[in-house]
Structures are given as C-alpha cells and as structure tokens.
C-alpha cells in the first residue's frame, strides 16, 4: 500500500490492515498528513443530508401513477399493430432491394470472372451474396423487436 492508498483509506474511514497501519507510523509524510486527513474525514462525516419528506414521497408516487397505469395496459395488450405496420413498411421496398442486388451480383460476377480465374471470381461473389443475405436477415429480424420496444416506450 502506497501513501496515496493509505491517505484515501483514512479519509474514506476504511479499516487499515497491519501493513497500512505500520505505514502511517513509519512514513514521515503520511504521519504529517494524517491529522489533516482525519479532520477532513470528520467534517465529511458530520455532513448530514436531510431525509426526503413524506410529501415528496406522495408526490413521486402520484406522478408515477399514470406511467404505471400505461405500463400495466401495455403488458396486457402488446401493440401487435405497431409491429405489423413496421414489418409491412420494411418489407415494401424488399423486391426493389433484391432486384438491385441481383443486378450488382450479376455485374460483379461478370467483372470478377473476367479479371480473375473463374472459381476465384465465383467464390468472391458467393462471399458477397452470403454477407448481404446475413445483413438483411439481421436487419429484418431486428425490426419486430425494435418496433415492439418503440411502442412500449411510447406507452411508458
């Protein structure tokens, strides 16, 4: 334990182990600092914070009541409509995206198989297709989850 650790422990009122206690008695600098550290610790310990009033508690519970009510209703009836709407909106441009990707893959395949040996070009294109498919799957799988959360946040 170094000087900093010992002084911080003293100020925080932590129990000093044998090594730290020995350090305080042996180290000239810490011995000189210890009274000031203890004085600050005593002032901090005397700093009392007032307890919250009963009126504040009642105010908090009153303010929370409508939020809780909405939460209870949201739990009973999940907003499936919002989830369906979000999925519908996301699926709408899917054919267009698939068409554009088909064009890109086709072009990529032609360019790569011209520049590189056939199997290498095909392998690279396959990798690209697999990556795009994976990203699309993750994105579309996340839509119902995100939509449900957003609906829940709106209710809360």
């Amino acid at each position: 334990m170094g000087c900093e650790d010992v002084r911080t422990s003293l100020m925080l009122g932590l129990a000093l182990d044998d090594g730290a206690a020995r350090h305080v008695t042996m180290c000239t600098s810490c011995r000189a600092e210890a009274p000031a550290v203890r004085a600050v610790a005593a002032a901090l310990a005397a700093h009392r914070a007032p307890a919250p009033s009963q009126a504040l508690r009642a105010r908090v519970l009153d303010a929370a009541a409508p939020l809780l009510d909405r939460r209870a209703r949201a739990v009973i009836t999940p907003d499936w409509g919002a989830v369906a709407r979000a999925l519908g909106a996301a699926l709408l441009p899917l054919p267009l995206i698939a068409l554009a990707q088909g064009y890109v893959v086709n072009l990529l395949y032609r360019v790569l198989t011209t520049l590189l040996p056939g199997p290498v070009g095909a392998y690279l294109v396959f990798n690209y297709v697999a990556l795009v498919a994976l990203l699309a799957t993750i994105t579309y799988a996340a839509i119902p989850v995100v939509a449900a959360r957003q609906a829940e946040a709106r209710h809360a």
Binding site: E4, D5, R7, T8, M11, L12, G13, E33, A36, V37, A39, V40, A43, L44, A46, H47, R48, A49, P50, A51, P52, L56, R57, R59, V60, L61, A63, A64, A65, L67, L68, D69, R70, R71, A72, R73, A74, V75, R149, E152, A153, A156
Partner: protein, 172 residues
Amino acid sequence: MPTDEELITRVAAGDGLAVGELCDRYERALHAFLFRYTGGRDVDDLYQETWLRVVRAAGRFDASRRFSTWLFQIALNLARDWHRRPPPEPVDPADAEGVVPGPAARVEAALDAERLLATLPEAQRSAFLLRYYHDLSEEEVAEILGCPRGTVKSRLHHAAARLVALARREDA
C-alpha cells in the same frame, strides 16, 4: 422479501406497490446523494425525476445488473445534466439582507463539508460521494460511472488529496 430486481420487474408490469417498496428502500440514500451532489439545489425535482425515469425504463432493466447501481446511474446522469445548466441568477444582496435563516439552516461543520465537496471537479465528486457516503465498492462505483476501476481509484486519490489541500487553505 422480494429482491430489488424482482420489484423492478413488477414495476415494468405496472405494479405501483413495487415502486413504493423500492422508494422505501432507497429514498434516504438517493435523496442524500442528490443533496450532496447538487449542494442542496433542486434536489426534490431531481429525486422525483429519477423515480419517474426508473418507472419509464423499468422494462429495459437488465436483470443481470444490480438495481442499486442502475438507480444511482440514472440519478447521476440526471444530476450531471442539471449541473450543465447555467446557474440561477445571483440573488440581489439588498433582497437577501432581510432574509432570516430558518430552522433548516445547516450547522457550520456541514457547511464546511458542503463547500469542500462543491470544489471537487464533477468526476472526482461523484466517485467520492458514491464511495464515501454510500459505501459502494470501487467496482460498483466504476459500473455507475462507466469507467474502469483504476480510474475510480485514481479519482478517489485525487479527491482525497484535493480535499486535504483545500481544508488546509481554509484553515490558513
């Protein structure tokens, strides 16, 4: 007795009694933290807003975490936002002269500690308050502050050194 984590799950389902139970468990600690962090200004509003955020975010509570650290994290974020706001208009000394200190006037020792704490930089003050007054471990403080444990340790060292230096300067 239900755990805090069970209670917050019930809050997510809209159980008002569970909020009351959590308030009972944490009202003193939370109020005291906000009081010391802000120096006593707007504490009740921050306290209320913290609980409302807890209710709003209850559905997103990560059950693998401790409720207490989550609660203090919410309170700290709110208090930080509050801290960034411009300070209130200074009181006209002419108006202040007629004000008689009420029964809530604090004792001198408390004022000293309050002044000392107020002079700490925000990062050191939040680490110090959580560790000193709320008996949270360095790991828990690190989780609340969103920083490594070593950073908490170093902030505590700096805060302690600064507090001693400030106290000495006040004495001189």
